[in-house]
Symmetry: C2
């Protein structure tokens, strides 16, 4: 019978996931809590960990290993970013042990990188997920892969020989939310409109400023070319089209002819699959939970328990 | 002593301007009202025109000529768009006379065009301003000019031999407002930060999706490269930089080596001047009130009074 080994926690801005991992690597218990660090006052994340998360999972006596925004100024303690390129071994060496806890509480650092054009980028939590994903298959430990995590702040990561070389964050999800809720293009959720999404993809994939491409959502409606009910999916297509057409060159992967890997919410990944398929690019979709668990488990083995 | 000739009205989404124009072309009286058609229920614009705007300006006995969103579904009557290319003569021939008014009430049509990539675009009100501007100087009636009207929905118009050939609308101003008020990049108005604006211009002018460039406003702050107080001007620079770097090619004017003309709010035009100067492009700034008055006066002479 497997014994509980440690409590793995992915603690982000909007919620947290926690798993009791056994000494055979299997998950013995898991919970989701709606307590993202973005919603909690200072000091509260530590209290919730001790008074709720650990007791609920009967993990009072287990060491804890966490990743995500819990390592930011909003979380328990600010853990300095590690510079990319970085692999799991670098992350494991840089785990931060939080003062005053026994059994130990560790937080994985986020990553910082310099984009090809010199601009900075950062991530917290996705590094563990991305490197965990790479650790799940020996084929991902050699050669070059481009992995995309769609979302509010989508992360594109270039992985070489199992290490994150660099990454770019795109606020496409947040822009979609802003435009759908507050702009002249605001719209209610309606039935899916794949034709409107495809039309948005085409215009979004064109050259030119996004601000100019977005206005076509309005000019198509007032000119009678598109019903108002299609605006939401059209704008979604514009944003995904702009991102998928122009980000590969920005990250320096425009000449890659391999598969692009996608990870995250299946419905969102499906939109990116459609976008890449329209450009003739093959994709594969992967599970994010398995990836972050693999990353936290590897970090526990290499760092926290070492 | 000049006699009043007609009441000229520029009636937009957020407010309206009205001028009594004399038979010598001079302005005899003018008023601004906060009654944009976007704020009024159906039927209300017509009532306000008759019961407030005309009496306040002692214009009960004058014909009226209006341009702007008053000719949209939100206004008094929906006037069909005219297709570009179009000049003042085309607009004058397409003036819509509103039923049931004596003296007459006319509304100028908006313009519709097809962008070089096939997408539609529309304007209502700016056509009168742009063609009025072109009519103010014989030098603008020959050859090619690129005129930019910065704003919530910035209009870029390509003018050839005094006619609007095509135009592109960019929602840069609206995006700035959304990001400043509702996004993870939200920020209060602070002291001007020209260095942050210039840094934003550089990143905004790079290739790549805007959504990815926007995230650098956050990564610069959390990485310690920029104070939080600089975010507002940096984001402003990003948006103006993206627009000014990439819209000329989109409208088919990337090889023009002449002056780019700017018209509108002086503070906003100054930001665009800075952006174009950074790219080595010369600019000239023009007054919008004189332009729309010239346009309405020419339309009255050529159309309403003809």
């Amino acid at each position: 019978m497997p014994q509980p080994l440690f409590l793995a926690v992915d603690w982000g801005t909007t919620n947290l996931r926690a798993w009791v991992v056994g000494d055979d690597g299997a998950v013995l218990a898991e919970e989701r809590f709606p307590w993202g660090v973005g919603k909690l006052p200072p000091g509260e994340p530590e209290r919730r960990l001790q008074e709720s998360v650990r007791p609920v999972l009967s993990a009072e006596e287990l060491p804890v290993l966490m990743c995500g925004m819990i390592g930011s100024t909003l979380g328990m303690v600010e853990v300095p970013y590690l510079d990319a390129p970085a692999g799991l071994d670098d992350l494991a060496r840089a785990l931060h042990r939080v003062d005053g806890h026994d059994p130990a509480v560790f937080i994985a650092p986020g990553l910082r990188c310099v984009r090809p054009n010199g601009d900075p980028d950062v991530m917290r939590g996705e590094e563990t997920k991305i490197l965990g994903w790479a650790s799940l298959d020996p084929a991902r430990q050699a050669g070059r892969r481009l992995l995309v995590l769609p979302g509010t702040h989508a992360k594109w990561a270039l992985i070489e020989d199992g290490r994150i070389v660099r990454f770019i964050t795109a606020m496409s999800g947040e822009l979609f939310d802003l435009l759908s809720r507050h702009s002249v293009l605001k719209s209610d959720e309606g039935p899916d409109d794949p034709a409107a999404f495809a039309a948005g993809l085409r215009t979004g994939g064109e050259p030119g400023p996004l601000a100019a491409k977005l206005f076509t959502a309005r000019s198509r409606v007032v000119g009678g070319d598109m019903p108002k009910s299609a605006v939401r999916d059209y704008v979604s297509g514009l944003l995904v089209g702009d991102e998928t057409a122009h980000l590969p060159a920005m990250i320096g992967a425009e000449d890659d002819d391999g598969v692009i890997d996608l990870m995250g919410d299946p419905a969102l990944c499906a939109l990116y699959e459609t976008a890449f398929a329209q450009r003739g690019v093959r994709t594969a979709v992967h599970d994010g939970d398995a990836a972050v668990l693999a990353g936290l488990t590897a970090l526990h083995r290499q760092g926290a328990a070492a």
